[in-house]
Chain length 282, copies 6
Amino acid sequence: MYITDETIDRLIREDIPYLDLTTHILNIRERKGTIRFTSRQKAVISGTDIVARIFEKLGIRIINIIPSGTGVEAGEIFIEAQGTAQSLHMAWKVSINILEYCSGIATRTRTLVDSAKKINPKIEVVTTRKVFPGTKELSIKAILDGGALPHRLGLSETILIFKQHAVFLGGVDGLLGELEKIKERVCEKKVVVEVECREDAIKLCHARINALQFDKIPPEKLKEIVNDIRKINFGITLISTGGINAENIEAYAAAGVDVINTSSVYFGKPVDIGVEIKRVDL
Amino acid sequence: MYITDETIDRLIREDIPYLDLTTHILNIRERKGTIRFTSRQKAVISGTDIVARIFEKLGIRIINIIPSGTGVEAGEIFIEAQGTAQSLHMAWKVSINILEYCSGIATRTRTLVDSAKKINPKIEVVTTRKVFPGTKELSIKAILDGGALPHRLGLSETILIFKQHAVFLGGVDGLLGELEKIKERVCEKKVVVEVECREDAIKLCHARINALQFDKIPPEKLKEIVNDIRKINFGITLISTGGINAENIEAYAAAGVDVINTSSVYFGKPVDIGVEIKRVDL
Amino acid sequence: MYITDETIDRLIREDIPYLDLTTHILNIRERKGTIRFTSRQKAVISGTDIVARIFEKLGIRIINIIPSGTGVEAGEIFIEAQGTAQSLHMAWKVSINILEYCSGIATRTRTLVDSAKKINPKIEVVTTRKVFPGTKELSIKAILDGGALPHRLGLSETILIFKQHAVFLGGVDGLLGELEKIKERVCEKKVVVEVECREDAIKLCHARINALQFDKIPPEKLKEIVNDIRKINFGITLISTGGINAENIEAYAAAGVDVINTSSVYFGKPVDIGVEIKRVDL
Amino acid sequence: MYITDETIDRLIREDIPYLDLTTHILNIRERKGTIRFTSRQKAVISGTDIVARIFEKLGIRIINIIPSGTGVEAGEIFIEAQGTAQSLHMAWKVSINILEYCSGIATRTRTLVDSAKKINPKIEVVTTRKVFPGTKELSIKAILDGGALPHRLGLSETILIFKQHAVFLGGVDGLLGELEKIKERVCEKKVVVEVECREDAIKLCHARINALQFDKIPPEKLKEIVNDIRKINFGITLISTGGINAENIEAYAAAGVDVINTSSVYFGKPVDIGVEIKRVDL
Amino acid sequence: MYITDETIDRLIREDIPYLDLTTHILNIRERKGTIRFTSRQKAVISGTDIVARIFEKLGIRIINIIPSGTGVEAGEIFIEAQGTAQSLHMAWKVSINILEYCSGIATRTRTLVDSAKKINPKIEVVTTRKVFPGTKELSIKAILDGGALPHRLGLSETILIFKQHAVFLGGVDGLLGELEKIKERVCEKKVVVEVECREDAIKLCHARINALQFDKIPPEKLKEIVNDIRKINFGITLISTGGINAENIEAYAAAGVDVINTSSVYFGKPVDIGVEIKRVDL
Amino acid sequence: MYITDETIDRLIREDIPYLDLTTHILNIRERKGTIRFTSRQKAVISGTDIVARIFEKLGIRIINIIPSGTGVEAGEIFIEAQGTAQSLHMAWKVSINILEYCSGIATRTRTLVDSAKKINPKIEVVTTRKVFPGTKELSIKAILDGGALPHRLGLSETILIFKQHAVFLGGVDGLLGELEKIKERVCEKKVVVEVECREDAIKLCHARINALQFDKIPPEKLKEIVNDIRKINFGITLISTGGINAENIEAYAAAGVDVINTSSVYFGKPVDIGVEIKRVDL
């Protein structure tokens, strides 16, 4: 992923609008020290590349750092660096916040991916657009590090027809009348329709839709519908969405869909990361 | 809070880099509809003022909207508006994401504030700097809506001395030697020191520190230390931080501190909000 | 399409970094006038919505304006507005430049779309990523106004495998070995491969690729390949790209592909638009 | 020319909002390769310095690169660099687009400059404000590389009086009454008036205007007017503008003006540039 | 002058990164009040248009406001507006700072212009590039309001040759050898050379330079040189720069130059402006 | 202090929107030279770190540079660097402007700090929010370099109650009724109230306010009030503000306050700095 300098600067600036008043007042700015980040839990660490960019901007020299997306055990040191007290204190909180939130997302993602693939190795886990607004770059980076893909990055490059669209066409039946034309218009892409019941799914499948997204259908019920659909069109892409999380993902993976779409990785506890700053006399 | 146009545009742009391809392809862009947001749970709704700004930019006319920070019951409609299918679909997801995340933070904040004040009506709940990077404006807005205040907005306007600072001065004892001078230098502000043990707290209290922040001290133990400290300096400001959440906040509030500092409101499940889009023929 | 205020301001600022020195020196700033834009040729006018935004920012009142994407005859007035001499002179050049370039693109697009659809009404015209860097918003807006769609808006949401990718996998044969796995991984999207010869196309078709993009294959030759491919997989999506323009598009449309992908609309003469400014005494 | 980091990042971001999905899915991101850019035609290459900035941001190491503004023959390799598959694919399209468009402008500019100077070595070719909005930095860079100068970079630093200004003063006669005062007010600059007929030119020349810009006057007619004007004021600056291009520039250069002002270099076919990406095993 | 929304927002944001903590804590945010700005001295008020933009963004309703550039007497109220306590407190300081600094510049400018024109009504006062970096928009706005013009807005549109340029050409004599060619190359503009002694001035005048800028030459001496120069070329533009201020401008104006170039208006005391905020019960 | 790349680029761009036309025309761009900055007066030089960033962006190699905040004697060279004529001319004016304005502020600040501390070594000098809008980063940097601290960086992190707040609470008496609650709400911070008379000061002191700010009270009178206040609450923080400058700061320092708050350092003459550019043949 490409992260602009403006993004890096904006992240730093959120925490340090001007000076670090405390190191200024303590008159310790130019003293030298080391900083070490340790995971207090088993986790997939995400965001080390962004922290490396922050360190570079603040003049902190990296001694060791693991690549973003690496798994660590509890107690493992994964970044070690050296700089002035001022630069270390400027970098500390913004870095740990990035690492804790991104690693939280990456870790939850890796767990979901592993659970789903254990049941069906061909299944894909993708993540919804329900990111905390303002964090799309970091959130997408983290789910990629965790092994998922984004379902849709925004509204501009994919076709996903919700009932909130169909309502302007007279509902699913109105949509069916337009479907052939729609498919021709965007034949470079798969046309996906979200459905909430078996009946609509069957109708759309008969109309040769490319992909169906099932919203909030319980796994058992979903399995039956998937079986029926596969009999009509074996190659159709089937996606399950709505309320899928670590508790129920195996059941959903067993339902026979090709894709699990989830928001649950985006929120939850950040990974607990410890920071140690020590003085060094150089 | 003042939110710039650039922020509003950046939020919209995260979800709509160019067009809404689906409404474009369905050829429904100019059809007229209404949008209604309903909370599926009891919650403190936060972010309606930002949604109002988004609606205005997209040409959506607001019919009803509640002020940011208002409590709602499950099932309550809190925004109703009217626009073209294109504008409603552009506004939908970014708006619901803002509302769900901000309301999640505001609701958790209100709960903590209520819990703490039930025990000690004079106590204040403040929130740490551990926001998801990129969301400080939204996160701070949400905790204000929930009834808390920010502990520190960044590094530039407050003095909070951690052991990671003291290490450059020879530890707490080194710090004690500088304390009088530090207090003079920033006498317009309170000088806060974070401590992890009773011994350091007592030393700093004798040295007439303005405020002490206790990190991760269990409530029972904290209560004892607070009592001892108050005997030395009754008017000192005492803050408790580290791992405080809905489960343990009452115990911390009962420990006699003046301020509860927490990160736990920033993460957790977003509030579940429903959106209904209907066609209207005008 | 959603255009941010920042984009509008940047466009204005390119031409007016500070003041309009000429109206300032002539001391005519507050005099009132009208501005009228006329097309000197038959054209599809694009960009009037952006000009409307510029006028609003500069305090110019619109009297008449046609929607972006409307066709006009030579001599037709399509915007008429009123403001101070200063605001009209600030708006003039940036507005005419937007209108001339966007309308040039939209007009060329409409011509290509009409030519292609005359031969095959089900064909789609899409446009490449070869925009003048810095103009993607305006360029995409203009091709949409002309009736095309973007082929890909960037690298982040579609799969298009070039030989420049395959080279890292050991060429097309290496790619074939990975194809099933790739298709599973992104089963929500069509996987497109660009080919330059019949042999690769046949191989990939047998491997059940979703879509093939033929680069710079002459129309007659292309027609033969398309026929052969359709016999293997009738439903495959076939795209023709490379050097397609107003002169040869009909031949390409007759070759049986589903999609024509072209860059030629992006460059060429801007539409010739006249501007008349008159003084009015109010 | 100074190009900001923000501009470089914006150009990259237009093509890569997040990841390069194709290299991600193919799992080839970290493989190493070389990229080579070759001109398929004789051209003046412009934009290599900007490509160098993009390469640096993406971690691509340059092996060979020619300075912006250098002429190349068909088939000449002018950039050679090395990086990961991911970085090369991220850089490829944005770089080639910059090079093709800028080199197109620079090549057309060089041709016009050479044609004009062959007739009159003292003549200057300048370019108008009719750039594609959003490209002023790149367009100006390219015309400088081609050997021209900008006529006016915007409205804030030069005086050019059009009839659209004069209309607020009662036309050319009204303007004449103000001319002495205007010249005094901006005596550090030349006051230029655009004229469309001999009569106005003569009047303004008698009024000691510094420079006249002749709009869309045929070369033969222009030559006569220029001769007449030079008899009145030999040192006046005379500019020809409006519809001047590669076909007619020699005739205009022969008309005796000091400056040729043209828009025609800004549009037209980009230079055809080939890119080769190869795998290397390091 | 055109001021972007981004500039307005940046100015507001400098003072209000998030909330106004004081009105928040006092719980007076929604109370209604009026704000009135009064000049405590005779002044040219500059910046009211920018304040109007700030007020609009903050929801403050203007009751009365004078146009930017208007002269006021001591004690005169020049803005009166109404809003909530929160909006008034957000607007207060940033508005008064803009008004005090801009009016300071405008007032000093008006004084210099009046002094110079009293001696020579045809003289022009222009201002240098020595603005406080970050304030060019506001500073240029203010000097225009005061009746001056900018000497040069930047490096990109004017030719001013310093000895720091000549040094690369072998000094003034080297420059003389290039002068004819330089003048041809930029014949749309006046070529200005800064000189520090009579000898260089005479040489350049004989070489038919368009304009000379005299740096830090005392008025009496300057007068003699001007006389000598005028005998050689009466129409040459002569500019005096370097240390010109309210004390010596009349002497410089009497020296016979056409233009006075000064930096002194940019710094000095801001105009003293009073603000009154009152509660109103609506 | 952390300065973003965007800030550095914006400063450069203010002076060089595109090219440096003069070096371009003189065709000296690639010649090599040195630049040396010399203070023409005894001063505290501020801004060298920012100039170093500008030089780096423009490819200028630094030979010698002093740290920002260093005192120099008249005639002392404090920056020496080497680059192309083009880069030196691009850097020259923006660098000298930053250095002259920042050093002006830093020098005036140092003078005030020294004067005040000579009278009372424990006193602190802080600076108000009355910066020239658009310069807060540079201005704050400069006052820190001069030895002062910012009084308040904005409205979001400190409590300062003006009469313009009290008016919404029924004046000082209304405020007194709320004071205990306000102090509890923000007990991590000192609550400061600005007063203009002895009577209000005494009332607030009795109500145990943390700090009082005295506005425009003459030093003799202030001394009396301070004495009275100290008798009631010895540890209260007392601040003097309003019209304090180099002439009267000693008298104010002698009045017994803890803090002197001043705006006077922000304006006044920039430090006079000389620049020498020489050609070198490498």
